[in-house]
Symmetry: C2
Subunit: 142 residues, 2 copies
DNA sequence: GGTCAATAATTGATACCTCAATGAATATAT
DNA sequence: ATATATTCATTGAGGTATCAATTATTGACC
């Protein structure tokens, strides 16, 4: 039954190693960190969104979100405004510059993921996505 | 052909998110960080090993290795000695305490990965491992 | 034998993450 | 109406990662 402990352990290590190796290389190629890219990427699709909702989508800690957005705001990539009808909430939106920024780094991102998955079939990619999502779900309820 | 960009992008995000979510939870459950666990785990199988070889196995940056081993040494988990025939190299070895430590946290680690992969078949696990290794290989040559 | 290159380990700088604690605004309950 | 609880965002603390630069030792070559 649980004879594949080494496989499971191996996956644990691989996930950590992959993340650590991938992040810096992504950033070198696109000039933007993977986390910030993910934030801009999400904002690109939604016009305006509550900061707390954004947090749930990207699965990054509240604190990290605050710091990223602060930095991105100071760089002119996003704009933020308080919700007039509930002053606790903050709406976040991509600026024109932000839209340009994310568009510009598309080609670099594309060549990066092309290399990363060049020997994967469509089916394998789908399978990989769903398995990772399952793992994520299993972890969350811990 | 490359119609599944969103899948590929999704995997990118998932790998990062998973690593960030998994690490702290693993540590809360086992009382040891995933990286340190990996180091002890490797040392457990090899008696004595050069620090540089260890680095290659665990795929962590040299600097991080040095800091981890220093800390583990100060906790009495590992011992280090210089290679007498080449004073640049350092041999690392698990202490008795270190062996005990890794044995003790086995059950916690087990229950953790059990939850993490509880709905995975043997075949899926194998498939996941090989796919992650392939991604890692593709990334390395970048 | 002495210079120059290569290798191993370390330290410094910077960035990012999580968790816990705090501050501020709103909702709730008696 | 007022005290209490909840929610959102922020800040502080601690840990870990990479990369670049440094130190120390060995090897190689003329």
């Amino acid at each position: 039954m649980t004879h594949s402990i080494s496989d499971q352990e191996h996956i644990l290590f691989l996930l950590k190693e992959l993340s650590n190796q991938m992040g810096p290389k992504f950033e070198r190629n696109t000039q933007i960190s993977l986390s910030r890219y993910e934030l801009l990427h999400q904002l690109y699709q939604v016009d305006e969104i509550k900061q707390s909702s954004l947090q749930k989508v990207v699965n990054i800690d509240h604190a990290a979100i605050t710091r990223h957005l602060k930095q991105l705001e100071s760089e002119g990539m996003v704009s933020r405004r308080r919700n007039p009808s509930d002053n606790r909430e903050t709406f976040v939106q991509l600026t024109h510059e932000g839209r340009e920024r994310i568009v510009i780094c598309q080609s670099d991102k594309l060549s990066f993921i092309k290399q990363m998955f060049h020997d994967f079939s469509e089916e394998e990619l789908r399978s990989l996505v769903t398995m990772l999502i399952r793992v994520q779900t299993n972890i969350k309820e811990y």
